[in-house]
Structure formats: structure tokens, C-alpha cells
Amino acid sequence: MAIHHAHPPGFAHQFEDMQQQREAGSLGMWVFLLTEMMFFGGLFATYIVYRALYLPSFEIGSHLLEVRFGALNTAVLIGSSLTMALAIHSAQIGKRGAQVGFLITTMILGAAFLFIKFTFEWRHDYVEHLVPGFGFAIRPEWGAPGAHVPMFFCFYFFMTGLHALHMIIGIGILAVLTVMAHRGRFTPQYYSPLEVSGLYWHFVDIVWIFLFPLLYLIGGRYLRGGH
């Protein structure tokens, strides 16, 4: 069968043809994203349970976060998703320079997200004694509804931490892709690694699209009662 013909670049021996290889690669990434969905899903499920049980505490905790950083970071990530999609588009139409440019922009935006997250948010929280396990201090003004604020911050750090870890891995993958793109490895016929990595990057973006309202916007941000 087809295995005797001349191998195009990037072709692996176990497949019959390029078409089969591309479909397998894409399906493989989707299945992987399904596992990622359940991985984050376990954490989201526990979040939903505790939010239902301890809503007042979660609102107090949420209001201690800075919405402007959350919203800014959402915009940054959406921008990185756009440049990722454009990088793939450039590969589809065979523009090597544009591929490299868009990939580098995506990495810069990803790094900007992490910079904002760590420097402006996490460091600030540490100074304010809001990191569970690292000198968390219950504040008297929270009163009785604030008993479970540490739980909210456990979620805040676990969820954003796990998300940040995925971002760091994603940036690593993008770095490899940039080198490959620079060497002209991707053509309109073969750009699978770019396409499947793009799926991963967009998935990480989607996780943040849900984390932003769940962590920053709980129960509204308008002033209510004493705070």
C-alpha cells in the first residue's frame, strides 16, 4: 500500500498517508484536552461545592482580588489566542516570517500574563497575608461570614497556580515551535505540530475565561452592606 511511496517531511512510518497522520494527531490532541478538562473539572467541581456551602466567605474573598488585573489578564490572553490562530493561518498560507512573528508575540503575551499574575497579584496577596499556608491572617472585619475565607484563597491559588503551570508549559512548547518555524519546518501541507499546540493554547485560554468570573466576579462587585 501507500507506505512505499516517497515520504513527505514529518511523515511517520506507522501511518498509511499524511491525511491519516494529520487526523490522528488532531484527534489525539482533542482526547488529551478531554483529559485536561476532567483534570481541571475535578477542581472546578470542588469549587462549585464549596461555593454553594460558603457563599458569604467566597464573596468576601473575591472582593479582596483586584478586578482590573483579572480583566486586563483576560484581554492579554485573548490577544495571545488571536496571535496563535494567526500563526497557524500564516503556516496555512505559507508565510514563514509571519509565523515566527506571531509565535513570538504569543509567547510575549503569555509571559505578560504571568508577570501581571505573579508580580501584581500573588506578591500583593502575600504581603497582605492572604496566602494559605504562608502566614494567612483572618481579619476581624470579616466577622462570622468570613470563617471560610481561607478556603476561597486555597482555591484561588490552586486554580490560578495550576493554570499558570499550564501557561509555562505552553510557552515552552511555543519556544520549540518558534525554532521549528524559523527553520522552515512548517508548510501548507504539514503544520500539525503548530495546529495541535494551538488547540492546547486555546484550551488554557478557555480555562481562564471561566476562572475570571468564578474567582473575581462572585456575586457581583457592587458595594453591599459593610464592604
Binding site: 506507522q14 487526523e23 484527534l27 489525539g28 478531554l34 483534570f39 475535578g42 494559605p132 481561607p150 478556603m151
Partner: protein, 545 residues
């Protein structure tokens, strides 16, 4: 299929290039991407883990010969049953059939040259080994005593044993399952030979597909759960911590969301093996192909709806208990469909009692008993009496050992000639099957009675009126242990001294039997074109030889 054209008396194994002699040396094994070699890497590693886990079981049964405990301190006993459970569940049963037989057979049965992602396949073996090393390190560094379920808050706050390395080991090895499942799903979807439609697939493939779905959807949840447990233990604060309003029972929800379907990870591939064995050794087409195929998928899906039956007495709401109880009964339906269909396949078949068939028949009986006693545990009221007793221990050993391990051994015996190109001594194999069957029942049937009489599990001591049944159980365990050693010896012996098998010693159908034994690295010289349904023994022209 082109079975009819195979020359059964072909050239001896040694003079032909196959996947075993294509390359030599340790490096050629450790860096291989051949699914058949990776299957053998898994076979070696899970066999090692099986005997480590079995060693702990033997120590437990020796200890329980006397009511006051004959061997170890109670603290040590806690570690023995924990390590036995962790190793057997996560490092033997879960990877057993999928990672060995599944790896070897999936590409061969669907007419492909390899899995879709061979490097990922090798990676998943390395991940398994790293996970196993973490867990074995925990064994050496003093063991762990939480039970294989790692229930919080004991595991997160109170246990002074090696919880962190064990949990990390299980966490890591989970990714091995995920990658294996991913590989199978993509391979089965995208790499079937021309003409091999879904309803012409061997039922083993359907079972492996259903298992892979559980790998993909379930394993990530236990991974994140154990990761959260790990964080909580390290940081001394976390989301299961009652001090900040955490709910330890939530841990059980997440744990069983994976670990109940994991039971079906263990049994579904076994059911797939069963369909192959029963049809081959009764020389009949399977009765009700589509029912058997879809029951695998049904089991995989329903298995995700029933986890709360592990928590009827641990503080779960009785309303949830009611729902989980009803849903649990539903799993019995597809399971029973399979048993009935195998039995109907046997009906008026020309049955031959070769060693693999003995294991298969053992499976039907033992699985039926394990399944029916499961119904006792699914109903709310009887579970209150039976939960936490030896009845549970007996029940799940009938499923996991009587079911999964029997099918695993049956499968190993069935495909051994294909894997190694050699035949094992048939008399010894039948003898071993019999010893295992007798030893198994003697070990675990008394435990049903002990549990019904109220002996709790996980205790190092017991009232003296339970001694007779405990001694019976321990005697059975010794027989069972010997029963497992016999195949280990003659199978290893046969790799060097066994007679040459020929391509199809059982006269079986299926693409894997159309290749020489052992198969060449590329599996097929030409990718086969499939024109007939699976198990078409009625029109078979294949000779046993």
C-alpha cells in the same frame, strides 16, 4: 480475511526476522517504539509488581492464622493491607490487560503497523516505571497505612507514614494510563484496516475502547484529587481540611468518581478477552455481537454514575444514597447481558478444554458470583450490615482476581504462542488453572461467610470463633500462591525450550493469527483487507496446527 492462505508448517522461528530477534541488546529494548516490545516491557514490570503485591497478601494471610495475630504488629498489618491494595490496584490490575495484551494486540487485531503514537507509548511505560519507583520507595521507607483509598483527614493530617511518595507514585502512574488510553482511542478510530468496520471488530477491541474511555475521563479526576491531597499534606492547609470548613467526604466523592470506574478498567478488558476465548474454543460465532459490543460501552458509561455506593455508611446523605443505589443496580444489566451471551455462545458449540478455555470457564463462574454479591452491596439496607466486613473483601476479590486475573491469565495463555512463537506444556497449564481455581475459592469463599458473620476487614486480630474460616482462607491463599508460581515457571521455560508454535496453533480467527509467530516488526507485509465479520468459525477453513 486472508487466513486460508497461511502455510501452517512454516519455517522455524529462529531463521526468520521477527520483532524479537530484529535487534538485540538492552538499548534496543529500552528505546523501542514497537508496540509489541513495549507490551513485553509492561509484562515484565507488572509481573514484578504482582509478586510484590502478592507477597504482602501472603504475609497478611499468615498473620491471620491465629486470632491474636501470628506474625506482625497491628501497625505493620495496616501497612501490609495498604501496600497490597495500592500495588495490586494501581500497578497491576489497572495496567494488566490493557498495557500488555492491549498494547500487543490492538494494532495487530485492527491491521495496523503500530499504535498511532509509538513514542508516547514508550513514554507511558517510563511514566509507569517512575510511578512504581516512587511507590516502592514508599514501601522501603517504612510503608504507608492509610488503606489504598487514602481517605482524608487521616491521610492528609494524621498518618505518620509515607503518604506523600505513595500518592505521588499513584498520581504519576495515572498519566501512564491516560496516555495509553489516548493512544488506543486514536488508533482504533483512525487506523483500522480497509474493510474493518466497527461491527467487524473483534470484541476485545470494543472492550479496550470502552476501557480507554474510562482511562481518559476518570483518571484525570483521581490525579487532581491526589495532587490536592499532596498539597494539603505539604502545606498543612487545603480544601479537604475540616479546620477551614473542608469536607473530607468530598475527597471520597472525587476518589470514587475514578476508583469505581477503575473496577471496570480492570474487568472490561477481561470481558474482551473472554469473548475471544469463548468463540475460539467453542468454534462458534459470538451470540449477539452488537449486544456484547454495546454492553461494553454501557458498562463504561454507567460505571460513572454509581460511585456513591462506596459511601452509604461514611456520612453521605441518605437521599444521594438512594439515587446511587438505584443507579448501581443498572450496571448489573449490561454485565448480565455479557454472561448470558457467552453462555449462549457455548450452547451447541464444539467445546475444547484447552488451558485458556479453562480460565475462561472459571471466569464465567467466579465473575457471576462476584457480580451477584455486588447486588447485596448496592442495596442500601443490606450494605449497612455488610459494609466494612470481609464480605466486601470477598466480593471485590471475586471480581478482580476471580474475574480480571483469570481473564488475564487466560489471555496470556491464549496469545503466548503468538507473542513468543513457542508452545507451553499444556498439561501443566491445565493443572495450574485448576489449582488456581481451587485455591481462589478456598481463599475467598470463607471470607463471604466471615463477612456475613460480622468480621470487619482491616483488623489485625479477630474473635477466636472466626479461626476455622480464617485458617481455611489462609490455606487457600497458599494454594493460590503456588498456582500463580507454576505458570511463571513453565511460561519462562517455554520461551527457550517450548516447541515452535506456528502462526495459528488454536485455529483462531482474527487478523493477529494471520501473521507469523512471533510477528515481524511491521506486523503485516501488506495491510490486510477485511471482508468478513469477526468470529466466522462456521465458514472457517483454518486448521489447528
Amino acid at each position: 480475511m486472508s487466513t486460508a492462505t497461511i502455510d501452517v508448517h512454516e519455517v522455524p522461528t529462529g531463521s526468520r526476522v521477527n520483532y524479537l530477534n530484529a535487534q538485540y541488546g538492552v538499548k534496543s529494548w529500552l528505546l523501542t517504539t514497537d508496540h509489541k516490545r513495549i507490551a513485553l516491557l509492561y509484562l515484565a514490570s507488572i509481573t514484578l509488581m504482582f509478586f510484590v503485591g502478592g507477597f504482602f497478601a501472603v504475609l497478611m494471610r499468615l498473620h491471620l492464622i491465629e486470632p491474636q495475630g501470628a506474625l506482625v504488629q497491628p501497625e505493620t498489618y495496616n501497612k501490609l493491607f495498604t501496600m497490597h491494595g495500592v500495588i495490586m490496584v494501581f500497578f497491576f490490575l489497572v495496567p494488566s490487560i490493557p498495557a500488555t495484551l492491549g498494547n500487543f494486540l490492538v494494532p495487530m487485531m485492527i491491521g495496523a503497523r503500530d499504535l498511532a503514537f509509538p513514542k508516547l507509548n514508550l513514554l507511558s511505560w517510563y511514566i509507569y516505571v517512575i510511578g512504581a519507583i516512587f511507590t516502592l520507595y514508599a514501601v522501603i521507607s517504612g510503608g504507608v497505612d492509610t488503606g489504598w483509598t487514602f481517605y482524608t483527614p487521616y491521610s492528609s493530617s494524621f498518618s505518620h507514614t509515607s503518604v506523600v511518595p505513595t500518592a505521588l507514585g499513584v498520581f504519576i502512574t495515572g498519566f501512564s494510563s491516560i496516555l495509553t488510553g489516548l493512544n488506543f482511542v486514536v488508533t482504533i478510530h483512525k487506523m483500522r484496516a480497509p474493510g474493518l468496520t466497527w461491527f467487524r471488530l473483534p470484541l476485545f477491541i470494543w472492550a479496550i475502547y470502552a476501557t480507554s474511555i474510562i482511562f481518559i475521563l476518570g483518571t484525570p479526576v483521581i490525579a487532581i484529587t491526589l495532587f490536592l491531597l499532596f498539597l494539603e499534606r505539604v502545606l498543612h492547609i487545603g480544601i479537604f481540611d475540616p479546620a477551614i470548613g473542608g469536607d473530607p467526604i468530598l475527597f471520597q466523592h472525587l476518589f470514587w468518581f475514578y476508583s469505581h470506574p477503575a473496577v471496570y478498567i480492570m474487568i472490561l478488558p477481561g470481558m474482551g478477552v473472554m469473548s475471544e476465548l469463548i468463540t475460539c474454543f467453542s468454534r462458534k460465532r459470538i451470540f449477539g455481537y452488537s449486544f456484547v459490543a454495546f454492553s461494553s460501552l454501557a458498562i463504561a458509561i454507567i460505571s460513572f454514575l454509581v460511585w456513591g455506593h462506596h459511601m452509604f455508611v461514611t456520612g453521605q446523605s441518605i437521599y444521594a444514597g438512594l439515587i446511587f443505589s438505584v443507579l448501581s443496580f443498572m450496571v448489573a444489566i449490561p454485565s448480565a447481558v455479557k454472561v448470558f451471551n457467552w453462555t449462549a455462545t457455548l450452547y451447541k458449540g464444539s467445546i475444547s478444554y484447552d488451558a485458556p478455555m479453562l480460565y475462561a470457564l472459571g471466569f464465567i463462574g467466579l465473575f457471576t458470583m462476584g457480580g451477584l454479591t455486588g447486588l447485596f452491596l448496592a442495596s442500601l439496607a443490606t450494605d449497612v450490615h455488610l459494609n466494612g466486613t470481609y464480605f466486601i473483601v470477598a466480593h471485590f476479590h471475586y471480581i478482580m482476581v476471580g474475574g480480571a486475573v483469570m481473564a488475564y491469565l487466560g489471555g496470556i495463555h491464549f496469545w503466548w504462542p503468538k507473542i513468543t512463537g513457542r508452545l507451553y506444556p499444556d498439561g501443566w497449564a491445565r493443572f495450574a488453572a485448576l489449582v488456581i481455581f481451587v485455591g481462589f475459592n478456598l481463599t475467598f469463599f470463607p471470607q463471604f461467610m466471615l463477612g456475613y458473620l460480622g468480621m470487619p476487614r482491616r483488623y489485625a486480630v479477630y474473635p477466636s470463633e472466626f479461626q476455622v474460616l480464617n485458617v481455611m482462607s489462609s490455606a487457600g491463599a497458599s494454594i493460590l500462591g503456588i498456582g500463580y508460581l507454576i505458570p511463571l515457571i513453565y511460561l519462562i521455560w517455554s520461551m527457550r525450550y517450548g516447541p515452535t508454535a506456528g502462526p495459528n496453533p488454536w485455529g483462531a480467527k482474527g487478523l493477529e493469527w494471520t501473521t507469523p509467530s512471533p510477528p515481524p516488526t511491521e506486523n503485516f507485509e501488506e495491510i490486510p483487507v477485511v471482508t468478513e465479520e469477526a468470529y466466522d468459525y462456521a465458514h472457517s477453513t483454518v486448521i489447528r496446527g
